[in-house]
């Protein structure tokens, strides 16, 4: 299974996302921001980092990259897309997901091992988990506060589109402790924490993050 990982100028966790794909048993395909071509991959990861230095707004410039034109079309057609951290910001700026990510309410960048609950296992990226499963995954962001108006938040909750929620401590002021959401179809998921940093016991707090990558591979095999 070929999973594309996009590199924008300033992307940082692209290598880690690629490693997570490989550890899960897939083939990671490097996609370049300036190349308007998805090269026939089966799914795409938009990785964490500081694309364009987070200048203007996080993800605001990356969202207009040539590769994004193809990506938006493909996602609307059902291609699975996982946006991690900066990737989540890019998905919101592209309107593939509702809402926006704003500055942490503490005004500090925070890097911590964060406890989460997986709220929905019916997305392409979370089917390997149990509903309600609690996992620990690194979180590292300065602009991770998820916001949306009440109607949107109610709809997300009502339609089971909240994918993950913060437990024990809300690290950034996200509304309703939301750590990740999905689109209506469940193929596009945005997640603030970094599952790709929790795939090896040697370098991560747990290996709880691997499920995001095994889910997609499992789903692709079954498709």
């Amino acid at each position: 299974m070929r999973i594309g990982v996009v590199t924008f100028p300033g992307s940082l966790d692209d290598r880690d996302a690629a490693r997570a794909v490989r550890i899960a048993g897939g083939e990671a395909v490097a996609l370049w921001h300036a190349d308007a071509d998805l090269h026939g991959v089966d799914a795409v990861v938009l990785p964490g980092g500081f694309s364009y230095g987070d200048y203007l707004r996080c993800g605001a410039i990356a969202r207009f990259a040539p590769v994004m034109g193809e990506l938006v079309k493909a996602a609307q057609g059902g291609l699975p897309v996982l946006g991690i951290c900066n990737g989540f910001q890019i998905l919101c700026e592209s309107h593939l997901l509702p809402g926006a990510l704003v500055r942490n309410d503490s005004l500090h960048f925070v890097c911590r091992d964060q406890r989460l609950r997986i709220e929905s296992t019916s997305t392409a990226w979370t089917s390997s988990y149990e509903a309600g499963q609690e996992i620990v995954v690194p979180l590292k962001n300065g602009e991770g506060g998820y916001v949306a108006d009440e109607a949107t938040l109610d709809r997300l909750e009502g339609e089971g589109r909240v994918v993950a929620r913060y437990l024990e401590l809300n690290p950034n002021g996200s509304r309703r402790d939301i750590a990740g959401i999905a689109n209506e179809r469940g193929n596009v998921v945005g997640l603030m924490p970094h599952p790709e940093h929790a795939v090896e016991p040697l370098t991560g707090p747990t290996t709880d993050g691997l499920g995001f990558f095994t889910s997609i591979l499992k789903g692709l095999v079954e498709a």
Binding site: R57, A60, I61, E93, V102, D105, L107, A148, D149
Partner: protein
């Protein structure tokens, strides 16, 4: 030579922790009675030639899609000089 100035502010209902931090600081520095501070951005765009209606419409479109995020921000074109 033409100039367009665009102000971008967070929508009123969006929490503005930076504005709050500035509010606190003003108070600590002796300015009494501050009831609110909101922080925004100003873009000063200089262009060759003149600004006609078509160009202005383009600026509006980009102000609403690149310079501001309509989910959380409003923009106002404060000044147009040709």
């Amino acid at each position: 030579m033409a100039r367009v100035v665009v102000d971008v502010m967070l929508k009123p209902e969006i929490l503005d922790p930076q504005g709050k931090a500035v509010e606190g600081a003003l108070g600590r520095l002796g300015l009494e009675g501050v009831t609110s501070v909101r922080q925004g951005k100003t873009f000063t765009v200089e262009l060759d030639g003149e600004i006609d209606e078509e160009r202005l419409a383009q600026v509006h479109e980009l102000a609403g899609s690149l310079l501001s995020n309509p989910v959380i921000e409003d923009y106002v074109i404060r000044e147009v000089t040709s």
